[in-house]
């Protein structure tokens, strides 16, 4: 599915300073029963966000109107656990376009890139800096510049570079995806398959 192009993003951010946020928290298994990719944002962080009867939990960050924005900032090892792309869909569907953490689980990172979410990995110190800045002022804006590969805390001017491989960067910048690319090399794949012993 082609997605929105990603170039730069300037936004306030929602802080979630918890380590090892696993995909079962991002979207619990019981919400994976759809056969179409829509509406997953309603159940993003379902069990942290709502009581069983659907009442919002006042102490969960997404229910605090002070914190808004298109950037989600999570603790170390964000997105561990299952391969469910639904976790990335839920984050995207809710309205986030970028997730910042000091460390991402592999499959979550891949899934995010594949659907147009930019995972930005920063140093633990920079991550702490973001949390501190947002705690001091929830209106703190972050600026993520994909072409320059930098993230900046606008209130303090603190900036850090992040890495992304040039292929994925090109895709995100242009809104292309891997399926487009793979379709362009089907003849090579046919030839490769013909040699396979399996």
């Amino acid at each position: 599915m082609a997605y929105d192009k990603f170039t730069t993003l300037k936004s306030t951010a929602v802080p979630l300073p918890i380590e090892n946020v696993d995909t079962d928290q991002i979207i619990p298994a019981r919400f994976l029963k759809a056969t179409e990719r829509k509406g997953f944002g309603d159940n993003l962080f379902r069990d942290w966000r709502f009581e069983n009867d659907g009442t919002p939990k006042a102490d969960f960050i997404l229910n605090n109107p002070i914190y808004t924005g298109k950037i989600l900032v999570g603790g170390k090892n964000f997105g561990s656990g299952s391969s469910r792309e639904h976790a990335a869909w839920a984050i995207y569907d809710y309205g986030f376009r970028c997730v910042v953490s000091s460390f991402f689980a592999d499959i979550f990172k891949n899934n995010s890139l594949n659907i147009g979410i930019l995972p930005v990995q920063v140093s633990p110190a920079f991550l702490d800096g973001i949390f501190t800045a947002i705690e001091a002022d929830p209106a703190t804006e972050l600026e993520v510049d994909l072409s320059a590969q930098t993230i900046t805390i606008l209130s303090t001017g603190a900036q850090e570079s992040f890495s992304i491989n040039s292929y994925k960067k090109h895709n995100l910048t242009n809104g292309y995806d891997d399926i487009d690319y793979l379709q362009s090399m089907k003849a090579d794949i046919e030839a490769f398959a013909a040699k396979s012993i399996y």
Binding site: A29, N77, S82, E85
Partner: protein, 468 residues
């Protein structure tokens, strides 16, 4: 050949690169694609919206497992959303000519159980599935890992995915495991040492005496749990144990094809002098029966020990405290003797015949604890049949247990098998995340022996005390 010595992982990976993109991923060819009802429907839909077709339907195999009920499988599935996903899998596979073992098929079962037991999983293959525990198949010396739905669509339409080559890690465990120490304990021990992010970015090869002596089913358990330390997957070099397991299985090669395959498989090992990006060495003698106390699989401990303090756990204090609060536990308290409400044996980690043999070895001649609800769920119909044929069902029945029908069941609670909020479950599955086995459920991961000991005593018990 003057090339530098290669690892098992290099050999299999490099043999599957269709194209290498500079500073980008490899175009990586997939030999076997497993699909199930949960992560495939959107992939089929996306493919159709793009006007594409399945490129090699014969390389994809489908089974229904995540949603399926474990009782009354002959009746229509009650949950309309589950029924809808199961129907979508049936329709999609029929439309594109993909093999499908749905409910009622004698070969139906959990995707990572049925692949190996039917000879679909073979050494040297690349195997993917929209399920993180695809790492299970690495036990055969295959590169196997979980993918997302966009990638399922890629494999359907091009038999390839775009993957950067992971770094390489080798984990060696030498020495001899003590009595009552199972492959699950080995896996939980390693993860407790490395943490849930300790192998992120790596593909792991397991080596050393413990894995050389381990059965295929044990190796599958270990490789299955690789994902729980963040690894993309784990693998073990194929050997005579592997070949003996595969020989004669339904879809395994025969005759000249077998000989040709075998000759190739025997080359699949890490060469002397090959290097890894990271190496770990552990001693088998240090491993006890393990149990988890927290909300990720890295929060495990020897069953006779005490829950570590936040300082020792090496994790962020707030996350650690949140975890113990969810579990209703405290720092530095013992786990032995804690009351257990539910016991679950099954899943792609421990739903194979050896696991039920181990469970029965402790249950035999004893009775189920009155207050414990036990869900005993084979990984496939073939395992279910073995349980009956080997007399294990009689042992279970005499002890007051009932056998359910195959599926993922309470591992991720997408069907009706949900642990109620606040209740404690000793589970042989792979994840103890908050709410994993039902909203509010509290999971203690452990081996089939620890599960059996809990099922008969009603509390966390060292299984070594009950072994003959």
């Amino acid at each position: 050949m003057s090339q530098k010595p290669a690892t098992l992982f290099d050999k299999v990976w490099d043999a599957h690169v269709v194209r290498n993109i500079e500073d980008g991923p490899d175009v990586f060819f997939i030999d076997r694609h497993f699909i199930h009802e949960v992560t495939s429907p959107v992939a089929f839909l996306g493919m159709e919206q793009r006007g594409l077709n399945v490129m090699f339907p014969g390389k994809t195999f489908a089974t229904a497992d995540h949603n399926t009920p474990t009782i009354n499988q002959h009746l229509p599935v009650e949950d309309p959303l589950s029924a809808n996903q199961l129907k979508a899998l049936e329709t999609n596979t029929a439309k594109y000519g993909i093999s499908h073992w749905g409910l009622g098929n004698p070969k139906n079962g959990i995707v990572h159980v049925v692949g190996p037991e039917n000879g679909i999983t073979l050494p040297g293959m690349t195997i993917v599935c929209g399920d993180s525990h695809t790492s299970t198949h690495g036990a055969f010396g295959a590169i196997a890992f979980g993918i997302g739905t966009s990638e399922v669509e890629m494999v359907l339409t091009s038999q390839c995915i775009m993957q950067p080559k992971p770094k390489k890690m080798r984990i060696s465990v030498n020495g001899e495991l003590g009595k009552g120490i199972t492959p699950k304990d080995v896996a939980l021990y390693i993860i407790s040492q490395l943490t849930t992010a300790g192998a992120t970015g790596y593909f792991v090869e397991y080596a050393g005496e413990v894995f050389e002596q381990m059965s295929m089913e044990g190796r599958m358990t270990v490789c299955n749990m690789s994902i729980e330390m963040g690894a993309r997957g784990g693998m073990i070099a194929p050997d005579e144990t592997t070949f003996d397991y595969i020989r004669g299985r339904e879809k395994a090669p025969v005759g000249a094809a077998w000989e040709e395959a075998l000759a190739y498989w025997k080359t699949l090992k890490t060469e002397e002098g090959a290097t890894f990006d990271k190496e770990y060495h552990f001693n088998a003698a240090d491993i006890e029966p393990m149990i988890t106390y927290g909300t990720n699989p890295g929060m495990g401990m020897g069953i006779t020990g005490h829950i570590p303090s936040a300082v020792d756990a090496g994790s962020n204090k707030a996350s650690y405290e949140k975890s113990l609060q969810y579990m209703g536990f405290h720092e530095e308290e013992p786990m032995l003797g804690k009351k257990v409400d539910y016991v679950f044996i099954g899943s792609c980690t421990n739903g194979r015949i050896e696991d039920f043999r181990a469970f029965a070895s402790i249950v035999k001649g004893r009775k189920k604890a009155d207050h414990v609800t036990a869900w005993i769920v084979p990984g496939s119909h073939i395992v279910e049949r073995q349980i009956k044929e080997e007399g294990i069902l009689d042992i279970l029945t005499d002890a007051g247990f009932q056998l359910r029908q195959p599926g993922c069941s309470a591992c991720l609670a997408m069907n009706d098998d949900k642990i109620p909020a606040g209740k404690y479950a000793v589970s042989t599955s792979n994840r103890n995340f908050e709410g994993r086995q039902g909203p509010g459920s509290r999971t203690l991961l452990a081996s089939p022996l620890v599960a059996a000991a809990a099922a008969v005593t009603g509390v966390v018990t060292d299984p070594r005390e009950l072994l003959a």
